[in-house]
């Protein structure tokens, strides 16, 4: 889901930097108010886990690959704002150190995977697990559904971002300057891949880790408010 450089036009890139700056600012403020020092190791674990899990490219019928993100899991454990920070750190390290994801498209990637993904997943989880006991099966199920929805929301948005480029940025002759694929192709490819395959992997990974923590460290599932 990492958008490389050269796929998004400058206006799109600029737009997402403009959108992410306030989001990062708010995230820092909220995390500063709510994150306890003893939770910082979990934040590091969350960011590291996302980073390493994004290295696993899963081949999909049709010949492309995708990867899980783990962002909903971090949101469930530490709240969506902390997840935003953790995922941003992972994405920045991937882009700067490993060239995974572009620099101009870094804010767009953060918007998709460090904002939309954890927040939509966290919302679904909160609603579905509402008042369920910490050790209940309902929480595991809610985590799975949340993971599925979160990654698909991010994937759909990524498809839209790709697909709008030929419309927004083209030569006078109509040739696309950046991503050459239109909305129909881009959205179908991204959504299809994630609805049919990657979403399930994210769901299973998220649910399994929550289930593991229910046995090993249920107090971690208390979570913190936003």
């Amino acid at each position: 889901m990492h958008i490389p450089d050269g796929y998004l036009g400058p206006a799109t890139c600029g737009f997402f930097y403009a959108v992410m700056l306030p989001i990062w600012t708010v995230a820092s403020r909220i995390v500063k108010k709510t994150l306890k020092a003893k939770q910082v190791p979990m934040l590091a674990i969350g960011a590291a886990f996302s980073f390493v899990i994004m290295m696993f490219n899963i081949p999909i019928p049709g010949g492309s690959t995708g990867h899980a993100v783990g962002g909903v899991l971090v949101a469930i454990l530490l709240g969506p704002w902390a997840a935003c920070i953790a995922l941003t750190v992972a994405l920045v390290v991937q882009a700067l150190l490993f060239g995974d994801g572009g620099i101009t498209s870094l804010a767009a990637n953060c918007f998709n995977m460090a904002f939309v993904l954890p927040f939509s997943g966290y919302t679904i989880y909160s609603v579905l697990s509402c008042r369920a006991p910490l050790g209940s099966g309902r929480r595991v199920f809610a985590a799975g559904v949340a993971g599925y929805v979160g990654i698909n929301a991010a994937a759909l948005l990524t498809g839209v971002e790709f697909g709008l480029q030929p419309l927004l940025h083209h030569t006078a002759q109509g040739q696309a300057l950046y991503c050459p694929y239109g909305l129909k192709t881009a959205v179908t490819a991204m959504a299809g891949m994630h609805l049919l395959a990657i979403g399930w992997i994210e769901a299973i990974v998220t649910a399994l880790v929550i289930k593991y923590l229910q046995k090993q460290a249920p107090d971690l599932l208390g979570g913190i408010a936003p």
Binding site: L35, M55, N57
Partner: protein, 97 residues
Amino acid sequence: MKITTKLWIGIALLAVISPLGWILPAYFKAGGAWGEEKRLTLWRAPMSDYSFGAQETKGLFPYSFATIISAISGIIVIVTVIWILGRILAKKGDQGV
């Protein structure tokens, strides 16, 4: 064993098997993720493509080894950054809101 220790062991295991992340696609002859083929090199990342310059075609082991080193390096950098951010952002001791 503390839960954080157990989780770090889990992450270390994932780092060790990270070569599967390129071996599986190569085995199934799957291409890159949709739309992730490079179009523009604006930035020369020091450890591009998690491979330290090792070639996929030159052999399983050098490339796998490079992938594992990349995973470990990335984790170390991330932990360092989060530790610094934690010092700036987190409240000392147990006083949360």
